[in-house]
């Protein structure tokens, strides 16, 4: 233990000196300066041996669980034969993964291009939308989060992420999330696409009102505008369906996926689109390339992750565990009305709305002390995001709920927690 404490201090010092001192400071003050070592199932262990249940999961990377042995085995086996591959060439692994994605995504989504992360997938989606439509405007929503790369950053609905890097891409128009009439008003002859997260994650687990996505789909059809749905956090069983848009029977023209596509093991993302949109690439076969996107190893890992999610009915399990969480949340809502305002939830995509913004960081600290990693959302610190691995067990759900209750009990005796405090 003494040795591990020393190692931890050294890691934090080096991280601070050679990467980012403010990040270390912020994580320390929130009590989440964990240095992950062992990882398994829904849990991870700090280098000092402290176990925590991971309800952050890199905002949804770990749907199949931490260090899933089946995914690890698939990668190990692949490494005996393959490497990343030459991106210029066709590859069996890419073809198989693209076919699999066409099978599991809704409607007529069929063709894929690959990247290494969500931002890259969104960049590609916007490029395809502009290239295919020959129009330039992109409508995005307030509090949206699509990644930190060029086009994706321009579609983020939070100024503080964007302002240091202005001027950004022109032609991006922001509207409120959940208001289809605002989209109708914003669409014009030069609108290429509307981009939405099916459920806003970073913005505070904002679940769209019923009818919203269907209405947006209708507007897009009427005005010949493409609909891009960002399923980067919501995809692969997270919400109780394979993709969140299936809750509302809405099929986008372009869908972006990443995070759990890589099984928590290997970075990979995909932009999936309807075949007719793929015609854009016929005269431009090399117009969008990614050296590491859809590497042979990444595709093998992604296939293993998808197979694991299907074989183990993780979407269904997410729905069941979500209901178990919900019963506990309902108790907490009754017992701690000065702390907890509402619960936003679809399956295991969950957000607790606190009564004020200062509660988020304080609760993160209390959760961490009790062995749960759960952090407030980037665009709204009054929301605690809970996105545990979908393999979480009923016992672990109860453990998290107990930690929430104990933390709330302790915080309710402290100052500055009520709506009007």
């Amino acid at each position: 233990m003494a040795d591990s404490m020393e190692i931890k201090k050294k890691v934090l010092a080096d991280f601070s000196e050679f990467i980012n001192p403010m990040k270390v400071r912020t994580l320390k003050s929130a009590g989440i300066d964990f240095i992950e070592e062992k990882r398994s199932g829904a849990c991870s262990w700090d280098i000092t041996g402290k176990r925590f249940i991971d309800c952050q999961t890199g905002s949804g990377i770990m749907n199949v669980g931490r260090h899933n042995p089946e995914i690890v085995a698939a990668l190990k086996e692949a490494l005996d034969t393959y490497d990343i591959g030459v991106f210029l060439l066709c590859s069996r692994q890419k073809a198989e993964l693209a076919k699999k994605l066409a099978e599991i995504t809704p409607g007529s989504l069929k063709c894929s291009i690959f990247g290494t992360g969500g931002g890259e997938a969104v960049d590609a989606a916007i490029k395809i939308a502009r290239g295919y439509s020959m129009k330039t405007e992109i409508i995005y929503t307030k509090n949206a989060y699509h990644g930190h790369t060029g086009f994706a950053l321009s579609a983020i609905g939070r100024d503080s992420y964007k302002e240091p890097f202005e001027p950004l891409m022109p032609g991006f128009v922001m509207v409120p999330f959940g208001d289809a009439s605002a989209i109708r008003s914003a669409v014009n002859k030069n609108t290429a696409a509307v981009i939405l997260e099916t459920i806003q994650g970073e913005g505070g687990i904002n679940i769209p009102p019923d009818g919203y996505l269907a209405e947006v789909r209708k507007i897009c059809d009427e005005k010949e505008v493409l609909l891009i749905l960002d399923e980067i956090q919501t995809g692969f069983g997270r919400t109780g369906k394979m993709f969140a848009c299936e809750h509302w029977d809405v099929v986008p023209d372009i869908m972006t996926v990443a995070k759990s596509l890589g099984g928590g093991i290997y970075p990979i993302s995909a932009t999936i689109f309807k075949e007719e949109i793929g015609d854009f690439f016929v005269p431009h076969p090399f117009v969008h390339l990614s050296t590491f996107g859809g590497s042979d190893l990444g595709c093998i890992v992604a296939m293993a992750a998808i197979d694991y999610i299907i074989k183990n009915n993780l979407a269904e399990h997410a729905e069941k565990m979500g209901q178990r969480f919900r019963a506990g949340f309902d108790r907490l809502l009754k017992e701690y009305p000065r702390l907890l305002l509402e619960v936003r939830q679809k399956g295991l995509m969950m957000g607790l709305q606190y009564t004020n913004e200062s509660i988020g960081p304080r609760m993160t600290l209390k959760f961490a002390e009790r062995g749960v990693l759960a952090v407030y959302t980037g665009n709204d610190p009054s929301i605690c995001r809970l996105m545990p691995p979908l393999v979480i067990t009923p016992q672990e759900v109860d453990e998290v709920l107990n930690v929430l209750e104990d933390s709330m009990k302790e915080l309710s005796g402290e100052k500055g927690i009520g709506r009007n405090d």
Binding site: M134, E276, D279, F280, V282, P283, H284, P285, F286
Partner: protein, 119 residues
Amino acid sequence: MATSEEILEALADYQVQCNNNARLRRMQRDWSRLLHFSAEDTGDWFTMNVINGEITFCKAGAEGTPDIIVTARSEDLCDMFWGDLNPSQKYLQGEIRVKANQEDVVRLDAITMIIWPDV
């Protein structure tokens, strides 16, 4: 060897095929080019004008300043416009030569792939 009339007949058919292909028209709607075709064995020249993906005319003679010049034997040009030969293959064999930027060369191949997927 193909006569100028035979090539013009093949060009006329090619124009109809391209202009009536909705997928191709949608795909090519951002593409406007003036093309010259040179039959190296007969010395005949032909001009094709494409505006926003629509072939607006094909005629004998070299008209205007071309964006693209395609040079081949007259029979190969004729066969190409009828869809009877794979121009990519001939291009790689050096029997069809294209003076254009690389993007336009890919475009020409893409057009062939859409209207004659089996060639």
